[in-house]
Amino acid sequence: MAFRLAKHLNGISFKEISMGFLVCPANYINYQITRPHTKHWNPKWKRLRKMKVIKVELPDFENDPGKLSEEEVRSKMKEKGLLPPRPWVERPFNITCTGGIFEAYVPPEGDGKVSSITAQGAKQNVQFLEKKTKSMMAIRKVGSFDEDFNRSVFIEHAEDIYKKTHEFIALKDKYKIREYVTERAYPEVMHNLYNKTIIWKFIKNIERPRMVHARCTDIITKENVFAQITVRFHSQQILAVYDRFGRLMHGSDIIAKDVLEYMVFEKHLANEYGTWKIHAKIIPDWLPQKDPSPLTYKKPIETSVTVANEEKSTAESTETNISSPTLIEKPTNTSQTA
């Protein structure tokens, strides 16, 4: 140790060291206190010190490879010598069901409430008769494909499908749901099911379900026929939706409600193995507006809105500009107190 110290001191003149002892401590105020150096004072060893450690290329965990921009992906692929992929031009296409409702049934206003004795109810009955001929033609067409087709049997079958679908929605059995619902309706049925518990009960029919509308159409070729039948259900049901933590979000598991629904059932008649499936639900225009959600939420900031805000604020004064972000949050706060 002493030898090493002496060697070290050799490099520095004695005068310098002695000066250090004599200088007034007040001069050291300008010095910054640093940690003792563990490295050699002479920078010529820096390069050699660096060579001691062999550099490893650490993987980039932070930047998700799935979130790279197109240009970055290109440069990365170039770096690795990979050819650019073939452009994706195919479009997924479904031929087992139609994309919507053709000649949708228009439910009479105030259905489920208006009696046939009133003027409005009488008018409805007349209109119903007018529209019947086309439906009859369609039903005859269905019969030409499906010889066993019977209206009353079909209604029972439709009711069964209706109940089964709801039961499987409550169970969240996606494989069974697919058997009762067309590909068009499937995403609508599955929407918002995630992380929720649903309790659904069918209590009774207020009115017997009845066929109100039927249409047939052919797509691309003449033989490729689809049939759609609208069935009116007027029933009493119980619905309660709970969130992931078992807290009630919507409805009630005690109170039964009257439900009037127009369900569109579809069948691919040209398909020998086609079955009747729920295709859509008709929501009339006269339906009263839904109750607002009891939960408040922050309105997502849209870019177009903010641009408009900025223009407005610059035109008026700088003060509004500052307060503009808080304006969006305000409704949340007010509802919290309410």
Partner: protein
């Protein structure tokens, strides 16, 4: 959109390549030249637990959300101090405090908490993002990449490049007064304990 197209087509390429193995390649585009990430999965599984419905007279179960950030290039031992600091704070307080921690890890912790707060509102039926508190906050050891270091006389040393995972659970409601069970007692509690001890004491050789 274009990237999605790219990804899809790349998958197709890979599919064709692996057709002999009859398996579908579904990982991200760049995993072709990057090792598949093995992130911890257990923590996020708590987010999928669905609890049975509660009756109306029951105390509503507080909502919670679990979130994590994996393989942060920071020492797990240094990260521990930051993780401990935010425990039992309300979310907004934690975020505010972390802004003043001059450590590299503080940024990652803050980002994770902010993400968890957003997730809670978006997916877990939490009405107000600020009505959350940090119920759990801890660190895990991530991937350790080994490097080599030269020593004298042809010897070599090992260099370890540590990564860490950060896990957080936010719970709905106001934070508790004391996070840990062994918190210092209130004066009246201390007095109560002292009195109890005094009454319980045994005087030897007495009646």
């Amino acid at each position: 959109m274009a990237l999605a197209k790219l990804t899809n087509s790349f998958r197709c390429l890979l599919q064709r390549k692996q057709s002999t193995q009859n398996c579908l390649h579904t990982s991200a585009l760049l995993s072709a030249w990057q090792k598949e990430r093995r992130d911890p999965k257990g923590w996020l599984r708590y987010n999928k637990v669905i609890y049975p419905p509660q009756s109306l007279n029951e105390q509503p179960r507080p909502a919670f959300v679990c979130h994590q950030k994996t393989n942060i290039k920071y020492s797990p031992w240094k990260m521990w101090y930051i993780a401990c600091m935010v425990r039992g704070l309300s979310v907004d307080e934690a975020i505010k405090q972390l802004k003043f921690v001059m450590k590299k890890g503080a940024r990652y912790v803050r980002e994770t908490i902010e993400e968890a707060k957003e997730l809670a509102v978006k997916d877990h039926n939490v009405e107000f993002g600020s009505n959350l508190w940090v119920a759990e906050s801890f660190v895990g050891k991530g991937e350790v990449i080994k490097g080599i270091r030269r020593h004298a006389r042809g010897r070599y040393g090992k260099v370890e490049y540590f990564h860490c995972h950060y896990f957080v659970r936010l719970e709905e409601g106001p934070p508790p007064k004391h996070y840990y069970a062994n918190h210092p007692k209130e004066p009246h509690e201390q007095l109560h304990d002292w009195l109890n001890n005094m009454r319980k004491r045994k005087i030897y050789n007495s009646l």
